[in-house]
Symmetry: C2
Subunit: 295 residues, 2 copies
């Protein structure tokens, strides 16, 4: 891989707030959740997409957006884990934020991370005033995590808990709860890199296929994978009687769907007219690794 | 008063999302909380401040910021009312969001409003691309509600619940939990109106005094006011054994403090070199009404 998770971590952790002052209890909880690890998929995708284009002056702006999108992802995990939602006590083998810091601080820490994501990006914007590319990237960062994206997906997921989910509803949940932030990462990387609107649009389309393939592969691995590969307990969907792509369409059709969506994303990306063939291959390689959970 | 609450409502409610699609359950909860009423203090202050300056091309941009700051205020109320925080079941005589829609939807509705505030403002920005004044106003909107502002104040308030609060801690809570958003409203109004940096800075200072006076007056009215004037049950601080400005400094010093801070704000505003004397008086009149809870 072009970048290690450690390299991405170094870039994004530089944006975490200092743990001091009267707000220290909430900042500690925010940083605890952020530093708990993970594959850093969203900032990684953002950087690999950016690298395909030519604009090299925006490296520091890009870094702020990489940190911001990971903060938004992290806030969504903190709130998702709360007793009123998924009621999870462990995440990546560590106590979840509300278990460690209390439910009140966990709610505020989630709010704090969502707000801080926009704070660091808006401050970066002031260092390059009047840049329409940065304004566009910011608008993307504000839209996809919201009610017409991630929060929309979470809402339907919450509302449908314990009820039969149909095909259309499942697609909405996957597209919004999972694919929206991946697509957000890719389109921001492209926009800051100086891509044309047509290129951004093509990459948004590809990212939706990546998101769908990633999520359906998750469903497949929950049935036939090992805890080691998937990084969390398997058979959780069966235990929770959850409707998944596999329960609706069956295992073979699900595997076929992942292959198709991955190929579709590949083909879209291969159509991109960019000079940097190496960067394009790096992105493709990462997408394969991501969907197949290769180490 | 120059504007009625109904006039402000008409401006800001136009920005609420449509209640349709799969995200409808969360959007209904967001709009329920937003439409529950209130004095619309923050958008009112923003508009009255804006009116003192000259830039009239940004009326529609201002309207989006007015809606956004009220959405941020509303999200903070939804999350504050949750069982893990204040556990309030009524607000302005109506069931709180988690009582009416469930705790899961209430958490998502708070997140949704905070995120949507930035979404509408960032979209407005794309209609006037490259405007440094709008970028600055956006950075203010992203900073003050966060960990170095409102969330910081809420954090200390939560952490100190049931413990003795000292003078410095109480001032931090008031300045951040209450004054930060008022000051945010005023500085955004000034910035969009075309004020100079010195004018913005002077108004920020004045707004902090307004916020402190408003909050200490709240403490006073909790002791000597009537439910009708203050719009909520009185003697709640005594019941909750809460440290307030009155319990630390006594009633007379508290009344004196409100007078001093109000006069300080007045004097700062009177120093402003703006042509529109009528608009300046409108702002001063509103501040008096606000602090004294006049009808």
């Amino acid at each position: 891989m072009k970048y290690s998770v450690e390299q991405i971590d170094e870039i994004i952790c530089a944006y975490l707030p200092e743990e001091d002052g009267f707000a220290k209890p909430v900042i500690q909880a925010m940083n605890y959740a952020f530093k708990a690890g993970g594959k850093r998929v969203r900032p990684m995708l953002m950087k690999l997409t950016y690298d395909m284009f030519y604009e090299r002056e925006r490296e520091s702006v890009l870094a702020a957006f990489m940190a911001a999108i990971e903060m938004i992802h992290t806030y969504s995990l903190i709130h998702d884990d709360l007793p009123a939602l998924d009621n999870d006590e462990l995440r990546r083998g560590k106590p979840t934020v509300h278990v460690k810091f209390g439910e009140d601080i966990a709610i505020l820490a989630g709010d704090g991370l969502l707000n801080y994501a926009f704070e660091i990006v808006s401050k970066t914007m002031l260092h390059s005033p009047g840049s329409v590319a940065i304004e566009r990237a910011l608008a993307m960062l504000c839209e996809k995590p919201g009610i017409s994206g991630m929060i929309g997906g979470q809402t339907l997921d919450v509302v449908m808990t314990g009820k039969p989910v149909n095909d259309m509803q499942l697609e909405y949940i996957y597209l919004n709860k999972t694919a929206a932030l991946l697509s957000c990462a890719v389109t921001i990387g492209a926009t800051l890199g100086g891509a044309t609107e047509a290129q951004v649009s093509l990459l948004r389309d590809a990212a939706n296929s990546i998101g769908m393939a990633f999520q359906v592969q998750d469903d497949i691995l929950d049935v036939i994978g090992s805890e080691e590969v998937i990084g969390k307990p398997i058979h959780s969907d069966t235990r929770n009687e959850k409707t998944t792509y596999v329960t609706i369409h069956g295992m073979e059709a699900s595997k076929q769907y992942v292959i198709e969506q991955t190929e579709r994303a590949e083909q879209l990306i291969s159509k991109l007219d960019v000079d940097n063939a190496k960067a394009k291959k790096d992105l493709s390689d990462y997408i394969h690794t991501l969907i197949n959970r290769d180490k």
